[in-house]
């Protein structure tokens, strides 16, 4: 894992001291809220519906056990004993008081964490494949790239007042688990015909009010050109991007308005100017960072304990079948810890649960944990022989739900239970869907199905790319939920299509049930997943199930 240099530690300490003074000046009245707001946002502090909210970056989703324990400590010391993991590999604390936030930031700095650029019109926390460095299908570990970008983008003087926020994601695997096509810039690590490492650069993706799938702006960028090229893209947008209308300010709109060819030409021109300024210091830094991400020494051990538990314990077998993924090292597995117990709040973990996960990582997992954009926790490097013990410890902590990738593994934004921007609640809908399908005992029969719920049009819950997407809106003072079908968050990314009029809070779970029933009756076999069935049969049978045969939309909201 990357370790802060003296420079990094001094930088974070200085920022924390500055923010402490800013908070003091806000409290003593020397700063107005208008003056203070951009300062607090640059340090990840929001004011939400019921309280302040502190958003802490988990760079490329990687944590060690000491960091996870410190998050648990912060949750208990200054919050209400839990934290909420988000769809961009952050953790949010929902109940801090303003005067405590400087202490929270100092506590984070003790374990080399911070909340810098988790908000505001800057380059945000750089996200990566949560299986980085572990996945069997990986070409290269994307985390050194993400760390290099973090160092370049943090406090970058040109990019502190961008037209709007800017999000970058990196994947080192052809199977995209980082939603790169829905980011302002998505980087796919590839090799060219000569076997040299580089990137496919995707630009202008994004969800929100105007969802767009990113477009390839450069199909092969040599690895050594990364930073000057990124600087060219962001600076072209920084000039062109619309500051007159916040709904048209993201780079997806700039790309849409100017066309990808025009943007490409401008970027290449700017890149030609910037390239000579990068004299190789970035590459020296990159080489040092890469060394920090050297893979751990994977032991060669007997997998007998796994095989015996798998054969004899059906609960373990179900969990292993659902929550494990292929690891690059023989005898090893990637284990996902579901934060989606049926009826629980998606992405929430208590301080006690955080400590259990930290202990397991330290004891069995080379001291590494990951946070996925799907709001689960990952033990990326575990030997199969240790999985029965890991499973038992997770079970005792309420963390052994066997539902990864299933209908109850729902992404949900905080929605109107917390968020000041929300137009409807998300969490209770997720809780009700998970509870309902658990009661029906249909979850494993239904198989792989991604439900993603957002409580407003900004789409933090990624509803556009859910196989089933749910968007909560305020219709004449009542919560109303629109459904989209056919979205895809992977390398074959697609925006879901709206089924038709929305449903009330009481109607939405039965509506989802009708969709699932339709899938079960339409699918060719149990091997045909929901998304494959939808692609084959199209919207019509689902529409009929939702609204009846007639076009008279009785359920119109």
């Amino acid at each position: 894992m990357y370790r802060y240099t003296d420079f990094d530690a001094a930088f974070v300490a200085e920022r924390n001291a500055q923010f402490r003074a800013q908070v003091e000046r806000r409290i003593d009245g020397s700063l107005t809220e208008d003056e203070f707001k951009p300062l607090r946002l640059m340090n990840g502090l929001y004011l939400q519906l019921h309280a302040y909210m502190l958003r802490v970056a988990i760079p490329y989703g990687t944590l060690n056990s000491a960091q996870m324990r410190q998050l648990a400590y912060i949750a208990e010391r200054w919050d209400k004993g839990y934290g909420h993991f988000t769809t961009r590999q952050n953790i949010q604390f929902n109940w801090p008081q303003l005067r405590d936030v400087p202490d929270m930031l100092d506590a984070l700095a003790e374990v080399q964490m911070h909340a810098i650029q988790t908000s505001g019109d800057t380059i945000r926390n750089v996200t990566a494949d949560h299986f980085a460095g572990a996945a069997a299908d990986e070409i290269a570990d994307p985390r050194p790239v993400a760390e290099l970008i973090r160092q370049w983008s943090t406090d970058h003087p040109e990019f502190q007042f961008l037209p709007r926020k800017f999000k970058i994601a990196v994947t080192g695997s052809p199977n995209d688990r980082a939603v790169t096509k829905a980011h302002d810039i998505g980087l796919r690590m590839v090799r060219n015909d000569a076997g040299e490492p580089g990137f496919e650069v995707i630009v202008g993706g994004g969800l929100g009010r105007t969802p767009m799938i990113g477009k390839v702006v450069r199909d092969f960028l040599p690895e050594t050109d990364l930073l000057p090229y990124l600087e060219a893209v962001v600076s072209v947008w920084n000039l062109l991007g619309r500051r007159d209308n916040k709904y048209k300010s993201r780079i997806k709109i700039t790309v849409h308005e100017h066309g990808i060819d025009d943007i490409r030409a401008r970027v290449e021109e700017r890149f030609a100017l910037l390239r000579p300024a990068f004299t190789g210091v970035d590459q020296q830094l990159f080489a040092q960072i890469k060394a920090d991400f050297a893979p751990p020494a994977f032991a060669d051990r007997d997998t007998g304990p796994f095989d015996r538990a798998y054969a004899n314990d059906p609960v373990f077998r179900s969990w292993a079948d659902t929550n494990l993924s292929a690891h690059r090292a023989p005898g090893h597995a990637i284990a996902q810890i579901s934060l989606k117990a049926h009826g629980a709040t998606p992405g929430d973990a208590t301080a006690d649960q955080m400590r259990v996960m930290a202990d397991l990582a330290e004891r069995y997992g080379h001291d590494e944990l990951r946070i996925s954009h799907e709001q689960n926790v990952v033990l990326p490097h575990v030997h199969k022989a240790d999985l029965p013990a890991i499973h038992a410890a997770l079970k005792a902590a309420g963390l052994a739900t066997a539902n990864i990738g299933k209908i109850s593994d729902i992404i949900a934004c905080p929605g109107m239970d917390y968020c000041a921007l929300a137009t409807a609640r998300s969490i209770p809908i997720a809780q009700e869907i998970a509870t309902r399908f658990d009661q029906l005992k249909l979850e494993h029969e239904v198989g792989d199905l991604k439900i993603k719920i957002s409580g407003c049009i900004n789409a933090c819950g990624h509803h556009h790319v859910g196989h089933i997407g749910i968007l909560g809106l305020d219709r004449a003072g009542v919560e109303n939920y629109q459904i989209t079908l056919g979205g895809d968050h992977t390398e074959t990314a697609a925006i879901g299509q709206r089924t038709g009029p929305g449903f009330s809070a009481d109607e939405i779970v039965p509506a989802i049930e009708r969709i699932v029933d339709t899938y079960l009756s339409e699918r060719l076999s149990a091997d045909e997943t929901f998304i494959d069935t939808f692609r084959r049969v199209g919207m019509t049978p689902f529409k009929t199930a939702l609204y009846g045969e007639s076009d008279k939309k009785q359920k119109a909201a």
């Binding site: 107005t32 019921h50 309280a51 969490i427 809780q431």
Partner: protein, 100 residues
Amino acid sequence: MPAIFTPKVITANALIEGDVVYLTQDDTWSRHLADADVLTDEADAQIRLIDASARTSEVVGVYLADVSPGKSGPEPTHFREAFRMRGPSNYPHGKQSEVF
């Protein structure tokens, strides 16, 4: 014809704690909607709003919220204000956890 002015209260978030507060008749901030002063005159509401918004060392994000008269004082007419008054629905946190 101008829209009919519906009853309103002045609400905001407290600067330090961040929680929801309401302006009372004697211009103090209360944690409880029941204590809020219900404004029925538009001109009066706008002046009270301007004055309350100036109290930046106490509160953040001052605005007028619709209410309707209820048995024990004003009640929210929109679900967003109902959540602000109570707290989130997934945990018994926020105002609903406090002893009234």
